[in-house]
Symmetry: C2
Subunit: 392 residues, 2 copies
C-alpha cells in the first residue's frame, strides 16, 4: 500500500536530510547582544566544557586544531556557523540565531573534511554517527533522568531467517516488570527515521525516561516498547522511490513479533499491540498497519504522514479494528501562518485527522509548539501518544 | 587495603595510558611487501570502506580532508602513522608494522587537533570516545556473533544515595533467563579499566557474545554479569596515587549488589558471587574482594595485579572462603624472554599464582598469546575465567 504522494515524500525527506526543516528557525530574531551565561551541553562527553548553550538558546563551539585553515559547524542544515581561530589555537564561534529547544544533530567541517566534535557524544543519524547537542527546554522535565522507579532497556539479539542474520532490538520493560511473573503487558513497536537506527529512540528520544516519568506520575498504563532497525538506510537520496518496506515488514511480522511474544510476558493480540514511528518510520507504520489490522490496533505517525478517509475505506475492517490514530507534527513543519497547511508527507494531516474523527474513529492530532522535523517534536509526540494507548 | 606496590602501579598505568604497551608490537617484522588484500574493519560505521585491515594485520586508513596540512593516526601509542594526501584530496596511509590481533583504540591528528575517524565506530577509552578497529584473530570464533541462543544486555538505572545520583549498570542475562521464573543464577561483577566505562565490556569486550558462545557449547554454567562504572576516571595521570576506591566500593556493596539481588533472580550469597576486572578494574577487584570475602568467593584479575601469599595471610578466612583466584595477562605485558618476569602491577604474578596453588588455593595463571595490555587479552581472560566459576 504505497501512498499516492510518493513524489512529495521524496522531496520532503530530501528536505529533512539536507536540513530544510532546520534547527535555526529563530532567524527572525535580530542579532542582539548574546548573553554570556553559557553552560556545557548536557550531551557532552564526560568532563568536556564545549559545546555550550546559553539561556537565549545560542550554541557556542570550541575546537582545537591549531594548524587548520578553516573550521565550521553544520547544524540544522543552514549555511553553518564559521569558527574563528584565537591566539590559543582554538577555533570558537556562536550560532547567529537561537536554536529550537531540544536535541540537534551537528557535524564539523575541518579543512574540507567532515568530523565530529570531540567534546560531544555521538548519535546515529543521517547514516552516520553525528555529534549531538541539547538545548534545555521549558518542558524538559518530562524526559529528565529523575529519582523515580526505572524500567530497563534490554538489548536482544533475535534470529532472522528472512535476512540470514542475527538482528538487534531494544526492548523497554517498565518498572515492576521483574516483580510479578504472572503480569502481562501490551507492546508498542516504535520506529526511528531515515538515516537513524534502533538506538535513536533511547539515545536521542529518551523514550525510556519519558515512559518512566509517565508511569511514575500515573499518566500511562505500563507497556513494553520494542525498537529495531527499519532497514531504511539503503534507500539513499534519489533512491527512496525504490524503497521497499517488504523486507522490514517480514522481519517485523514474521520474526520479531513472534520472538517478543515468546520471550517477554506480552498480551499477544492486536488489542494490545501498537505501532508508531517518526518520519520515514511513520511511513513504515502507515504502510504496515493498514495492511495488518489483525496485528495492530493503535497507530502513531510522528511527522510521518496521516491517514485519510480514503485510506480508511481501502483497509477492510478499519472502523471496527482501529482503536486509535495519532498524528503529530512539529509546528514548524506545518507552515505558518496556516497552521493546518500540508506538511511534508502529502495531504493535509489535520484535515485527515478531523475527517477520521467525524467518521467515528478515535483520532488525535497533536502539534508540538515551536519545533521542527527534529527529536523534540517526537519526544513530545511519545509523551502525548503513550497515555492514549491500551485503554480498555 | 592498598597494595604496597602503588609506585609501580602508577608507572604502569601511565604506561598503559600513554600506550607503552602498544599495539604495534610486531615492529620486529621487516617492512616487506604489503599484501593488497585489505578489507573493511568489522567495526566500521555502516557502509564505510575505511579503515581496512589486510591478512598480514596491517591497517590502512583513508581520511578526506582536502585542505588539511597534516593528518596522522595514533594507534597504540607509537609515533603514529602519517597519512599522505592523494590527488583526490583524501589522505591515506598504512601501518608500518602489523598490529596485534583483536581490538585497538585509535585517534586522528588533523592539523594539530584530535578527532575520530568518521569511518569507524566509537568506543569509550582514555576518558574519551575513541575510534576502534578490529584485527581478525585466529581464535575470533569465541567472540563472534553466531546463530546460537542469545542472552540480553539490560540497561538498568539504580538509585545511589551515597553519590546522590541515579547510576547506570548493564546486566547480562543468559539465554533462558526469561523461561523459568523459579531458576536463580550466580553473578559476576565485571569492571572496566582506567579511562573506560560500563559500556566497555560489551562494546569492546563482547562479553555477552563470549558468554552466549560458551553456554551454547556447554562450556560454562550460565550466570549473570553486572557491569557498572568504577569511577576511576577522576584519577588522572599524576593523581592516581590519590585514587580512593571507597566511593565505588560503597556503590557496589551497599547499593548495586542489593539492587541486583532484589531485581534479578540471583543466588545472593558469597558462594555464587564473583568479581573481576581489567587493569585498574583488577586493582579495584583485588582491593574490594580481599576485604569482603563474605561477599565474593571468586576473584579474577585481568592484567591488573595478583594476590600474593602475604595478601592471603592478611585476609582473615581467605583459605576457607576463596574458591578461585584467576590471574591473566597478555604475553607482551610479561616481558620476553623471561615469561614469568614481573608485569606492570608489581610483584611476580606467576610466582604469586604458583605460591597460592602450593598453599592449597585454587589458583589459575593464564597468559594470552601475542597480545598486550589490550582487549584481546581480556576477551581471552573472560573465556578462560568463566568456565571455572561457580562449580559446586
Amino acid at each position: 500500500m504505497k501512498p499516492p504522494t510518493i513524489a512529495v515524500v521524496l522531496l520532503s525527506l530530501f528536505g529533512a536530510a539536507a536540513g530544510l526543516f532546520g534547527a535555526a528557525a529563530g532567524a527572525q530574531t535580530p542579532a542582539t547582544a548574546v548573553k554570556e551565561d553559557f553552560k556545557p551541553s548536557t550531551l557532552n562527553q564526560p568532563g568536556q566544557e564545549y559545546p555550550q548553550v546559553n539561556s537565549q538558546r545560542h550554541a557556542r563551539f570550541r575546537i582545537v586544531a591549531p594548524q587548520a585553515q578553516s573550521v565550521s559547524v553544520s547544524l540544522g542544515g543552514r549555511e553553518g556557523t564559521p569558527l574563528r581561530k584565537g591566539e590559543d589555537g582554538a577555533w570558537t564561534g556562536t550560532t547567529a540565531a537561537p536554536l529550537d529547544e531540544g536535541f540537534h544533530y551537528y557535524r564539523l567541517s575541518v579543512d574540507g573534511g567532515t568530523f565530529n566534535d570531540p567534546g560531544a557524544l555521538h548519535f546515529y543519524g543521517s547514516t552516520r554517527w553525528e555529534s549531538g547537542i541539547e538545548v534545555p527546554a521549558g518542558d524538559q522535565d518530562f524526559y529528565a533522568l529523575k529519582d523515580v522507579p526505572h524500567g530497563r532497556v534490554e538489548q536482544v539479539l533475535f534470529p532472522s531467517k528472512s535476512t540470514g542474520t542475527v538482528r538487534r532490538a531494544f526492548v523497554y520493560t517498565p518498572p515492576g516488570y521483574d516483580r510479578d511473573p504472572s503480569a502481562r503487558y501490551p507492546v508498542l513497536y516504535l520506529q526511528h527515521g531515515w538515516g537513524e537506527d534502533e538506538t535513536a529512540w533511547s539515545n536521542q528520544g529518551r523514550a525510556h525516561l519519558i515512559m518512566d516519568n509517565l508511569i511514575a506520575a500515573g499518566n500511562t498504563r505500563p507497556f513494553l516498547i520494542v525498537m529495531t532497525y527499519g532497514m531504511t538506510n539503503d534507500a539513499r537520496i534519489g533512491g527512496l522511490a525504490k524503497f521497499d518496506v517488504g523486507p522490514f515488514r517480514t522481519v517485523l511480522l514474521n520474526e520479531l513479533i513472534p520472538y517478543v511474544d515468546a520471550h517477554f510476558r506480552t498480551l499477544p493480540d492486536a488489542a494490545h499491540r501498537a505501532m508508531a514511528g517518526l518520519s520515514m518510520g511513520g511511513m513504515e507504520t502507515r504502510w504496515i498497519t493498514l495492511e495488518h489490522l489483525d496485528t495492530f490496533s493503535h497507530i502513531g505517525l510522528f511527522s510521518g504522514g496521516s491517514i485519510s478517509p480514503a485510506d480508511m475505506k481501502a483497509a477492510p475492517g478499519f472502523r471496527e479494528k482501529v482503536k486509535l490514530v495519532f498524528v503529530g507534527y512539529g509546528s514548524r513543519e506545518l507552515g505558518a501562518p496556516r497552521a493546518g497547511a500540508p506538511a511534508g508527507f502529502g495531504g493535509d494531516p489535520r484535515a485527515d485527522a478531523e475527517a477520521l474523527a467525524k467518521a467515528g474513529i478515535r483520532s488525535v492530532f497533536y502539534v508540538s509548539p515551536d519545533t521542527a522535523h527534529e527529536f523534540q517534536s517526537w519526544r513530545r509526540c511519545l509523551r502525548e501518544f503513550a497515555p492514549l494507548l491500551f485503554r480498555e
